[in-house]
């Protein structure tokens, strides 16, 4: 995209950005536009690097129970399985064993709970949830950590965290296909915003006026 086109793109895409504001923040906007540009390049063809197609089907089925598809898109539409697959040969290589050991364990649990069945992806949604509940060890409540840390204790918790990451990560980085995860939670796709941001600050009169009003009241 040429710089001129980017500028037009930003003027059109940004709701309520004045031309003067865009000019004042020009270098920053260029950088933000580069983000959007890279996003298009980052889209990968659906080819698995770690999972076999059978494993991928199982992982996708689990992710689809963690963030199901209902009247809005879920993990399946966000392409979470591709994010996890790519993750396991890059940032998540340490978790390969968790998946290698976890998937056969899952299959065993499926057969144990539903004799005759061998594939998680072949179960009904209710049966699938029953299998996952049998794996899920709830984390104790406590003060939230400085940072949540994906890369976890057991197979289900690892897969849960990877699914969330693949659903909600900035679409530029290989998950959250077409930004569907952000649409679900109501985060706009842009990386440049202008005040007012929300309901409570839209009629804010400014600090001085608010302070004066408070003094009167």
């Amino acid at each position: 995209m040429s710089e001129l086109n980017r500028r037009n793109f930003l003027l059109r895409a940004g709701t309520g950005f004045s031309a003067a504001w865009v000019t004042a923040n020009w270098p920053a906007l260029l950088s933000a536009a580069t983000h959007a540009h890279n996003a298009a390049r980052a889209a990968r063809p659906p080819k698995f690097e770690f999972f076999t197609p059978e494993e991928a089907a199982e992982v996708e089925a689990i992710s689809a129970r963690i963030i199901p598809t209902d009247d809005t898109p879920g993990a399946r539409e966000a392409g979470v399985v591709y994010f996890i697959d790519h993750g396991l040969v890059t940032f998540g290589a340490d978790d390969q064993t968790t998946y290698r050991e976890g998937l056969p364990e899952l299959r065993a649990r499926v057969s144990e709970l539903f004799p005759g069945a061998s594939k998680f992806s072949g179960l009904t949604a209710e049966q699938q949830d029953a299998v996952l509940h049998s794996f899920d060890e709830s984390a104790p409540a406590g003060r939230r950590a400085f940072r949540a840390r994906p890369g976890a204790q057991n197979f289900f918790e690892t897969l849960r965290q990877h699914t969330i990451a693949g659903f909600l990560i900035d679409p530029e980085y290989g998950g959250n296909r077409d930004g569907v995860g952000w649409k679900v939670i109501g985060r706009e796709r842009e990386h440049v915003f202008q005040s007012p941001f929300g309901y409570y600050d839209k009629d804010y009169p400014g600090w001085q006026s608010a302070a004066k009003e408070a003094d009167k009241g």
Binding site: A28, A165, I169, E172, Y173, H191, G198, W207
Partner: protein, 554 residues
């Protein structure tokens, strides 16, 4: 990386070698090189710039691209000195050029007068080594102003009735208020408190070739790709580089300060990226490695003359560690706040900065701030109310419902200096370079927990007054992990109870200076970086004066 930097040889005896390029190191590099000295800055992390900073949460949460790495640099943790420490992550700090100032939240309150003279004012506190500073707020005031104008702080002078005196207004107005800030402000006023626009080290207006904040929302934990966050990287290191006298040498992990037979420092010994060992010679050494790595470096530098570690005749190097106490309350509101847009904190209040120990029956004080510092992923892990299902239809519905309607109130407060609370060398565990790992020993003073819970109750009151639909929180707990690393080589006039003097010079080694969080004598009320930077500006003046009088090399 800038191309016009000088390239000094290891054998060139430069005027100063600075260990660490963070909040303090960056400013010392800027000031000392501007004052005409030849400076080499050794930074253990990589040299990243705006082009390297992304919104990729995986790089931050999993790969520790900007921070110390728990695999390469493992740590151990225990509560008291009689316990055996277990391997566990003890701290997070910035490990890149610019240090923690690259990824911080950028809250930039000044300390108040009380923070420097609290021991005199409240008397001794049992179980703590509370001490006055050898300098006062008035000594530091010109340097706070310098930070605001030279590094770049947005804010509104005079907005808080509790603010200490200042010689100049802020150089630019506050950043735009967020919905969390308006909710906080209105409720606090109802309660008769005095909320005010948060002073932030983030530009509200374009300045010095840097862009104003564009409100991208990826702030805490991330590097700023438009240079609006006033990190050492963009606000100090670049100025140092332009002098033509300062070399920034990244990927240089200092693990010993070299000494001669006369007890003088001769340079810093470091691993380069290929783990080849070098000695950079210098007339003086300034360590700005943070409140954990600075004492570690002194302890690692023990030799025959200094068997307990360098500059440790007092035996307190690494001790009196303070993390700041705290607590978090989260609230949900009826309408969208969209607080994911913008920087983290837009309103703060200091009505409880100085609590009367007679009335509350504990020592301390603190501040409250309105914030939202979640990213989409961290919100899904930590932003939903307790009891929300962790997966499935209802989990997804909660995410969709709550992401835009949530805000937090952070409670920030004092930590007392307790001698046992410390960073030391683990006797068993080694880092990836074969050096003893950091061992944290920490048990909050009972008053710190009492304060945390008292502030926590105020935050609940505030959410009550704001009409939050739901609120929940995690009260103060004993901390086993820190990001504010304070007090471990504290400043003082008495060499028996402090490590450096008021000039930041170690009492024991004439040409060795320390300046960072380790220099702090008290913990302030929770936002230390502003004070660390003011100290760095002041230290640069003191060191320059000493050097010009020939009192360092003599």
């Amino acid at each position: 990386m800038m191309v016009d930097q000088p390239r000094y040889k290891n054998s060139d005896e430069v005027d100063f070698v600075i260990v660490g390029s963070g909040a303090a190191g960056g400013i010392l590099a800027k000031e000392l090189s501007t004052n005409g000295f030849r400076v080499v800055v050794l930074e253990q992390g990589p040299y990243l710039t705006e082009a390297d900073f992304t919104h990729n949460e995986i790089e931050i949460l999993v790969l520790d691209k900007l921070t110390n790495h728990p695999k390469l640099q493992p740590t151990t943790v225990r509560k008291t000195p009689d316990e055996k420490a277990k391997q566990q992550r003890a701290l997070v700090y910035g490990r890149c050029v610019g240090g923690t100032s690259v990824h911080f939240t950028a809250n930039f309150w000044r300390f108040h007068e009380i923070d420097f003279i609290e021991r005199s004012k409240v008397g001794p506190v049992p179980g703590a080594g509370l001490m006055d500073w050898p300098i006062t707020y008035a000594d530091l005031e010109p340097y706070y102003t310098k930070v605001e104008w030279e590094i770049g702080v947005s804010g509104q002078a005079g907005a808080s009735p509790f603010d200490p005196p200042r010689s100049k207004p802020y150089p630019m107005p506050p950043l735009p208020v967020k919905s969390s800030g308006v909710i906080f402000e209105r409720a606090a006023r109802k309660l008769g408190w005095h909320p005010y626009p948060a002073p932030m080290a983030i530009l509200s207006q374009a300045r010095a070739g840097r862009s104003a904040c564009v409100n991208c929302g990826f702030c805490l934990g991330f590097g700023c790709e438009v240079g609006a966050k006033s990190s050492s990287l963009v606000a100090a290191i670049r100025v140092a580089e332009k002098t033509g006298r300062c070399e920034i040498r990244p990927n240089s992990y200092v693990h010993r300060i070299e000494m001669d037979a006369n007890g003088r420092a001769t340079g810093a010994v470091y691993f380069d990226q290929k783990r080849v060992v070098h000695l950079q010679k210098a007339k003086a050494v300034v360590v700005c490695a943070n409140g954990a790595e600075t004492p570690r470096l002194l302890l690692l530098s023990a030799n025959k003359q200094f068997p307990n570690g360098l500059a440790n005749s007092s035996g307190i190097v690494g001790k009196y560690l303070m993390f700041n106490s705290g607590g978090v309350v989260t609230g949900q509101f009826e309408h969208p706040l969209n607080d994911y847009k913008g920087y983290a904190v837009s309103r703060v209040l200091h009505d409880f900065y100085e609590l009367d120990p007679q009335k509350v029956a504990f020592y301390g004080g603190g501040g409250l701030d309105a914030r939202f510092d979640f990213t989409p992923i961290t919100f899904a892990f930590g932003g939903l109310p307790p009891g929300t299902p962790r997966w499935g239809k209802d989990f997804k519905a909660a995410l969709a419902q709550d992401f835009n309607r949530t805000m937090e109130i952070f409670c920030h407060g004092t930590s007392l200096p307790v001698e046992n609370n410390s960073f030391s060398l683990d006797p068993d565990l080694k880092d990836a370079w074969g050096l003893p790992a950091l061992r944290l020993t920490y048990k909050d003073h009972p008053d710190d927990l009492k304060l945390g819970n008292w502030m926590f109750a105020r935050a609940h009151e505030l959410f009550e007054a704001a009409g939050a639909q739901k609120k929940w929180g995690f009260p103060a707990q004993e901390q086993q992990f820190g990001v504010h690393l304070l007090g471990t080589c504290r400043m003082g006039n008495d060499p028996k109870t402090s490590v450096i003097n008021a000039d930041h010079r170690t009492h024991d080694v004439k040409n060795l200076f320390l300046c960072d969080g380790s220099s702090l004598v008290t913990s302030g009320r929770g936002q230390p970086t502003m004070t660390i930077e003011a100290l760095a500006f002041r230290a640069a003046d003191r060191i320059t004066a000493l050097a010009k009088r020939g009192e360092i090399s003599a």
